[in-house]
Amino acid sequence: MSNPNASGWKPEMTPSEDGLHNGPATVTGNRALMLEEPLLFEIGQLDETGVDLPEPRSDAPNRLGGFDRTDAIGLPALKEGEAVRHYTRLSRQNYAIDLGLFPLGSCTMKHNPRLNEKVARMPGFADVHPLQPTSTVGGALEVINELAHWLIELTGMHGVAMSPKAGAHGELCGILCIRAAHEARGDAREVILVPESAHGTNPATAAFAGYKVENIPATAEGRVDLEALKARLGPDVAGVMITNPNTCGLFERDMKAISDAVHAAGGYVYCDGANFNAIVGKVRPGDLGVDAMHINLHKTFSTPHGGGGPGSGPVVLSEALSPFGPLPFTAKTADGVVHLVEEENAAEFAHTQAFGRMTAFHGQMGMFTRALTYILSHGADGLKQVAEDAVLNANYILRSLEDLLDAPFGASGPCMHEALFSDAGFEGGLSTLDLAKGLIDEGYHPMTVYFPLVVHGAMLVEPTETESRHSLDQFIAAFRNVAERAKAGDEALKQAPYYAPRRRLDETQAARKPVLAWSDAE
């Protein structure tokens, strides 16, 4: 195993009484490169601006209808140099993939290739208006159509709705297709079945679409209980929402049997595609009987997470659900022309049963260009290798930590793209949260914690395929160190992190007396 600390320097783990680590306090509060940065509202100027625009002319016409804004808005400005410095300083208080391994389970924090960024900024993509005459945006429509083709082929499905803005929006799209399909045949159904291990968006989506949500239990080995599912199916069940690979990092072996049973009972199968990275190019959900699946372009296809979006969530659809997909979408005719299919020309493309429209305009074009760039870079062969390396890396972590940490489903076989551990064996009242905060001091973003809910103190580790073996070994060494401290009941972990820009933050205070905007009275 490679040395996790090449310099050999090792900090003291116990801080001095003033909470600083072994050095005098500074007058600025800064600690060398760790710089404190005030809020914009504390340093900006209300009567200045950082752009050069003409002063309003006193003789200018005014056709605002008497609605002139006369109040003080209260928006301070920084000059360009100050603004660049303000945000650069803030940026340094963030962890990011560019800084290191980011093992958030089910989030697929892989490297974001910079060619994607370059392409998205080409003027023909970045500087076109969504309502330009289609004769002037043929290339943009080709991008959407080319990506749609890839998504359909990679999933073995029949159609794809490109407009959903993020994963949860895509889930909603898929569930609304299911509802529209039932309504079209006069078959009102009111229940969606969701496994206990599902992400919270699944039940929230089903409820938002007007369904009752019922849980299906998991087996002792962390998979959907097929018999329990079959027993619950009936004329009131509209469908199931299954995540595959599931949130325990396991492939649902019975997926085809689940689909067959649901279809036999008149329902449809929604697959949460959050974990598609594990199987892209290896398995096609369409071959397993899936009717709808959203694809998080920001996970499997490397578009940046951006500190919380924007995402993009196209939904691939089976032949049964495709007629109900929302507008707009693209269609290529025999002459090679790609058309934008909207409300006005849907009938020409025999798409008269669309359930409606989910958003203004045509979807997350800026994410389509990035995802297509990524897909073309890898090709069909590279994407298969992506899945294989992602699964290999996760199993390497599973087998490198399971002697130390409880892996609830480790004995039943390999995991897919993520390895799941529990907090069993932690001493001294230490928790998963403490281990997570200890990892921060070691220079890592923690894994997903307390999810899935079916495992006590869950820790879900997804390394992705873009980590080298050296990077994995360093992470494993760090993880082992913190895990050993948790198992030894090391009290100091309860106060971690010590070396981050902030110590533990008081979330209770934030929620009890919410301060959600700057107030000049402060």
Partner: protein, 453 residues
């Protein structure tokens, strides 16, 4: 493959450590008949950076970029100059490649930015609290309707006929599944918005009235009058703004009595991008409504040493805690677009925003006056900010297509937005921003005259 760091030696040694003889051993849970043996047929294989860039550039060149033409499109997406430093900052890897700030000790950069963003949006809208952003204006609009349902426990939604038709269609689509009843109409092609018609549709079962400000035709409705009428019946007023620059010139919806203010933030920092990703803005005037808001909220707190810091808060509203009882299924926000907005607004400041708004309005007035001189063309609007409707005495959609062939992007015809509506064929929506030159205006006016002759 340039993005995959494992070597074949690594793979072999790692498989040995795992105790697997081949990679297939790790896919043993996938039924054999579902496993693909090789790369999916009919799809291209991997390609070099140079080859992919060439392919994408060729596709890019098949589009007419706004910068390369006299450009007058709006209708919910506006072309503004974005300072170079905005794009530089959003490409800082620490912002670009960070996740949602669930570990606040190592995400203070994103969190402080969101706190600044929320404050800027609240002030721009004249509201108490704004959230950390939604997908876009249209989805924010629906979420506001859903929130009004929760707050008032009523189901009847009155939409202004002059609400962006895509926004109205999103609301109609979602309402089909939530049993909300939509009272709807088409825009009246008149100089003033039809406030009295709208007000007459508000009743005791109405949860909310949804009004765009400025509206889809560029007119400026009197929100105060509508707010008073809505409140008299116990309904909420939802104001929708698709051009935030306008609020540097006209009164904020909050000041005029709107209860929920939502909108599209794309104009500030984000760019056109063929329709997405954009930036949904969402704010409430009265802090008592905060707990019914959808989406992420960033709040101030202190750390264990007493230092100020920021966290995501009030998450008991959200899906990852409340599951099927959440206020929304929304999971992400539009984080990087919120940063772009935050940085651009910080460069502008109040002074720059007011200058920007004044310049937009000045050029729009110039364009309206010039176009009114074209024979057959008249300006509909009584009032407007940077977008107005003209009737051209001919088919506007055909004119737009003809002008596009001449390299002029003339605006959005109303029949593109309302394909099934009668009596709008000759109406053209024209948007003018600081990026429009007087020469562009002259080019459009003379070309239009030629087309109509």
């Amino acid at each position: 493959m340039r993005y995959l760091p494992l070597t074949d030696t690594d793979r072999g040694e790692m498989l040995a450590k795992i105790g697997a003889s081949s990679i297939d051993d790790l896919f043993v849970d996938v039924p054999e008949e579902a496993r693909l043996s090789g790369p999916i047929e009919g799809l291209p294989l991997h390609a070099s950076e140079m080859a992919v860039e060439k392919h994408m550039r060729a596709l890019s060149k098949k589009n007419l970029a706004a910068a390369d033409a006299p450009f007058f499109l709006g209708a919910g997406a506006y072309r503004h100059h974005v300072p170079a430093s905005v794009d530089h900052i959003i490409q800082r890897g620490e912002f670009l490649t960070a996740y949602t700030p669930y570990q606040p000790e190592i995400a203070q950069g994103t969190l402080q930015m969101l706190f600044e963003f929320q404050t800027q949006v609240a002030r721009l809208y004249g509201c108490a609290v704004a959230n950390a952003s939604m997908y876009d204006g249209s989805t924010a609009c629906w979420e506001a309707v859903a929130m009004a349902h929760r707050v008032t426990r009523r189901k009847r939604v009155v939409l202004s006929g002059a609400l962006h038709p895509h926004y109205a269609e999103v609301v109609r689509t979602m309402a089909k599944f939530t049993d909300d009843e939509i009272a709807d109409s088409r825009p009246s092609i008149q100089p003033q918005p039809d406030n009295s018609g709208l007000i007459s549709r508000i009743d005791e079962n109405t949860s909310c009235v949804v009004v765009q400000y400025p509206d889809i035709l560029g007119r400026i409705p009197d929100l105060a009058e509508i707010a008073e009428a809505a409140h008299a019946k116990g309904a909420l007023l939802i104001a929708v703004n698709t051009e935030p620059v306008a609020l540097g010139a006209i009164k904020s919806p909050g000041e005029l009595g709107a209860d929920i203010v939502v909108g599209e933030g794309q104009s500030i920092g984000v760019g056109l991008q063929f329709g997405g990703p954009y930036l949904g803005l969402f704010a409430v005037r009265d802090p008592k409504h905060v707990r019914q808001m959808p989406g992420r909220l960033c709040g101030e707190t202190t750390d264990a040493e007493g230092k100020r810091g920021f966290v995501l808060t009030l998450s008991t509203r959200e899906q990852h805690i409340r599951r099927e009882k959440a206020t929304s299924n929304i999971c992400t926000n539009s984080g990087l677009c919120a940063l772009a907005f935050n940085v651009h607004m910080t460069l502008l400041g109040e002074k720059g925003l007011r200058q920007l708004a004044a310049e937009n309005h000045r050029l729009a007035c110039l364009a309206a006056d010039r176009l009114a001189k074209v024979p057959g063309v008249s300006v509909l609007n009584g009032a407007f900010f940077n977008e107005f409707t003209v009737t051209i005495g001919g088919n506007a959609r055909d004119a737009v297509r003809t002008l596009a062939d001449k390299g002029i992007l003339a605006g959005v015809s109303l029949s593109r937005l309302y394909p099934d509506s009668e009596g709008m064929d000759d109406a053209l929506l024209v948007a003018v921003t600081e990026t429009t030159t007087e020469e562009d205006i002259e080019t459009l006016a003379s070309a239009l005259q030629e087309v109509l002759a």
